[in-house]
Amino acid sequence: MRRYLRLYLYFLRFSFSRALEYRMDFWFRIVMDTTFYAVELLFFTVLYQHTKLLGGWTLDQVFIFVSGYLVIDAIHMTVFSNNMWWLSIFVNKGDLDYYLVRPVSSLFFLSTRDFAANSFVNLLMAGGILAWSLIRYPGTLGSTNITWFLFLVLNGAFLYYILHMCFIIPVFWTHTSRGMVMAFFAVGKMMERPDQIFRGWLRRVLVTVLPLSVVVSLPARVLFEGPTPEKIVHILGVTACAFLFMAWFWRLALRSYSSASS
């Protein structure tokens, strides 16, 4: 464990020094993400001009839900996103060999080696928006609910990574990940909407097999409705199952990898 921690600190040091080399990109990313945050909040603000509730939530509750999503997205952009981008390139160029022979888990190495230091400021900003939305909430939330919510938001970031990875791994067979990545971003739109707007079989799928609503919508429910054991076990259980599936899928994919220009 200590070896992995030390390795990650090296990744961080290297990423920060590289980010300082590309200063303009650093600022562009901040502007881009700020705009993204504004667009998400404005979208719901405009919708709530015409309704008092959406998916059973008020505007104040939706602000917390959206802020939670923004934090998860920021964590993903900072910790995992760049690595996801590089993975398909490594597979196609045969550069994966270099990472497979390392004396650490290849999945860990390839998922975390590139820390996007230039997105780190955005993570702080998203955290600020979440704090703002929690402070301005007119009702009482309770410290237990908030603690569980924050923990489940972190869990949501991990689940987001798992889902993204599951959409990228097919590159070992398809040789291009563009289609699957686009598909992930398309289905990812469901993550950005309250789970209660979906009904019937689709809702059941979104909280189990394709757990997009488990990422942030269910944690927000825990915040507003309280942390019942069923909800907590459901969220953590789905995440554990998704992780086991990803680990199995990764091992299966590595068996199909035939090195250079596979």
Partner: protein, 270 residues
């Protein structure tokens, strides 16, 4: 540029797109189906929970038709996967060979862009026809063959306008080491302020009057309303002229960036 060369370049790009067929179909089908599902559930929940029969002047079938048209036309307007093509040429130094060609660089790039869009246009038409066959056209929505035909040029001009809007952020590549964020930024802004996320009539009155003066309205909102038969012929002509005017304005704005950038360009790539 000779029309023959333009068509030739288009066909090369179209063929390139088909070299990864699985990828192409996965992208299209999943993207469109999921977008429609999200829109469907969102608007249904909105109408149910607000208890209103119309929202921002739209009935539920009307707003769903709008959403279908946005997802069909939006892919064409945003254009294939070449949004980073200009900056890539600058970064890789491959711009040099284009500068030696006896043809203007931007016509060349636009021909490629149009080639990438052609299969998406045909796919959108096919998927639109399929949706009409399965669900039909709601009686409250005055879509006619004429309104659909009128929408076609507005979509193509919308595509040209999006290309022109994306040129300036791309040209920043002469000075900055990465402009990917600027392209994504443009996409966020145009989606919200152009009506790609929700109809512009849902915005407050004061915001609508500001948005009407911006170019973004001609990307999503205007073509969709034309296709739905909600625009008179006079408004259609006016909209077409204004969107062409915006294409001209953005082209003029790009000129100083291009001239200064050319002086900055070393041809060695980054």
């Amino acid at each position: 540029m000779r029309p023959g060369l333009f068509i030739h370049l288009m066909s090369i790009e179209t063929r390139k797109l088909f070299s990864y067929r699985v990828d192409f179909w996965v992208t299209t089908v999943v993207n469109m189906v999921v977008t429609l599902i999200v829109f469907w559930y969102l608007w249904e929940a909105m109408f149910q929970e607000s208890g209103a029969s119309t929202i921002g002047g739209w009935s539920l079938p009307g707003i769903l038709t709008y959403s279908v048209l946005i997802s069909l036309s939006g892919r064409v307007i945003r254009g294939g996967d070449l949004q980073m093509a200009i900056s890539t040429d600058i970064y890789e130094g491959s711009l040099s060979r284009f500068l030696l060609y006896p043809s203007r660089y931007f016509f060349f790039k636009y021909a490629q862009q149009a080639g990438a869009v052609l299969p998406e246009l045909l796919q959108s038409i096919a998927m639109g026809a399929l949706i009409v066959l399965v669900y039909g056209i709601p009686t409250e929505v005055p879509v006619t063959a004429t309104s659909l035909l009128m929408a076609l040029p507005t979509i193509l001009i919308g595509h040209l306008l999006f290309f022109m809007l994306s040129v300036i952020p791309q040209l920043v590549a002469f000075w900055a080491e990465n402009v990917w964020s600027l392209s994504v930024l443009l996409r966020f802004i145009t989606m919200l302020l152009g009506g790609g996320m929700l109809p512009l009539s849902l915005f407050p009155e004061w915001a609508q009057s500001i948005l009407a003066w911006m170019p973004f309205i001609y990307l999503y909102d205007f073509p969709a309303r034309v296709a739905m038969g909600l625009v008179t012929q006079a408004q259609w002509l006016e909209g077409m002229l204004l969107s062409l005017l915006w294409c001209g304005i953005t082209a003029l704005l790009a000129v100083p960036f291009w001239r200064r950038g050319e002086l900055q360009y070393t041809g060695v790539g980054i």
